[in-house]
Amino acid sequence: MAKLNAADIQGFAMRGYTFPVARFVLMGIANAEGGRALLLRILDQVTTAERWDVKPDSTLNIAFTYAGLVRMGLPDATLLSFPVEFVQGMKARAPILEDSGNSAPERWDAVWRDSQVHVWVAIYGESLDVLARRCATLRQFLQETGGARILYEQDASALPDANGGYSTKEHFGYTDGFGNPDFEGADRKSQPGQGKLTADGKWVPLATGEFLLGYPDEAGEIPAGPVPHLLAKSGTFMVYRKLHQNVATFRHYLDEHGSRYAGGKEKLAAKFVGRWRDGTPLLLSPDKEDPAIVTNPARSTNFTYGEDSGGSRCPIGAHMRRVNPRDAFGFGGALINRRRIMRRGLPYGVYTPPDQPANDADEHGVIFIVLNASISRQFEFVQQQWIQYGNDSHQGSDRDPLMGAHNGQGKFMIQGDTNASNPPYMCTALPSFVETRGGDYFFMPSLTALRLIATNSVDPR
């Protein structure tokens, strides 16, 4: 595997920044000329994937919707060569994603419902002051060039912990962000359980082309991407989703069923996801949280489902087992290696501690971001076939207990055994705990591609 050119890849595509706060600036481009002038100004602000000797206090990354690339004046041959789902955008893909009912596009936030976002600029930072400084610079560029106007600014932030710091939990109380796929060329240590399985049961990184365009993927092909090659290479496709969390509904459901389920409320919460709320995988510790596992990267993702084919430890329909089935479908995982997604994201909105009364209507949820080489083969497939449907995991039409569009009709079977504290239990009348509030599909170009776009020199073949 050749070393990747880290200076040409946007850092966001290669690493999670682990900053506590972020601002996602959504913009509309005025016209091609102004858009290019703006992009030229921003270029040297863009954070690359180069290794940090000293961690900066903030980062900046940029991505475009299809409508944004049209507005930037890319050649027709290039525009015609993008994958259809990217051209259509996320709103048009609602039937595939099952964004319906309360998640339907006509009920999204105004910026996603009524306007067309062209550009996404993500600023991550160590504090709100740093964010404000970076945003002021961005606004100055906008003013100087007249290239774009800001449609909306979405703030996101890690939730507070008990000691006045930041936690790694989300609004439902689960520790988040364990499993991200390892791939060839990523500048970090491989973690067992995050890549793909080999025939002899070892974990190795996935092919680069599953996540970056221009490199061979798991099928031995260069992923489909736009022409010219130079525009595609080292870029990636991004899915941005604002997912609202019905915190009160979730807590109420857990209380109600936790009192009936013999394993108790915390075990029920664990069975939903496949991890205890502190992050301990049920598969490795079915009866209690175990900090020794959570804090050890060699253990926290290092497991397979083969020894739990009955689901009595981790339910077959649990969230984590659905979205990354590992070896659960047999064939040494070969059926799932081309369905992996890289996740980024942060919670947004008001945090309600467990001892305070929650409500559904407040602004709180998670900004859920996916990076992959093919939105349709990776993100959309996982969403449609594994979250909103259950046939691959032999659970019929049952949906993901946490993420599914249940609308009060959902069902989730928790497999158990003959131990009194781990009986089979069926969750019925599941409400929708999570609802889509907006988002779109984006292309995140390499630094070379950004420069081509900014200087209007994309080869018009």
Partner: protein, 198 residues
Amino acid sequence: MTNINGKTYAMTAITPMKPWKTPILKVFFFLLAHIKPLQARLVGLSFIHFARWVVIKRQAFPRLANSQPIENLSYDYLLFFSNFNGTWNQYIDAFADVLADGLNLVWRWSEKFPMSRPVTAFKRYISLVQFDTDYYYTAYPRATTNDVKAAHRVCAAVEDLGRNCNEMSPAEFSAAYLQFLVKVQKDLGSTGVGPVGT
């Protein structure tokens, strides 16, 4: 009129083979039919109802009436017919991901077959040789083959429980019911309308 009925997809593909290659394929089919382990991977793909390949020799095409012109065909034909659950793309992806070698042995005797990997060329080939279904009946449009198999297991377990429970005390029944539930707990998914385009 359509290849999709409820949760099931019908795929029909017909590919020409030079007649001298047909006996080679026949030998491979004979081995496949008699050596069960060779079938294991195909059988292991649980979303496939069945997959069948049939050789139609060039002289074997029916002539239904004297008014039908006599044809002199240059090629034998390989008919592939399969019903499966899930999307067309998912099906071909699975073929390429886990059955590549076996499929190559079946289809490589067909004209212009590009091999089953890389998958993009394979998909293009299948789309060129695929025929659409005129009439498609399915007994359980709201169920997949996994659902039907699971339902059979649940039915048998319910009947077992029913047969044996008449003499039981409440405590015995409670224990027997728990055993029953553990036995069928993997098989209780709902039936319903499938995702769009599948």
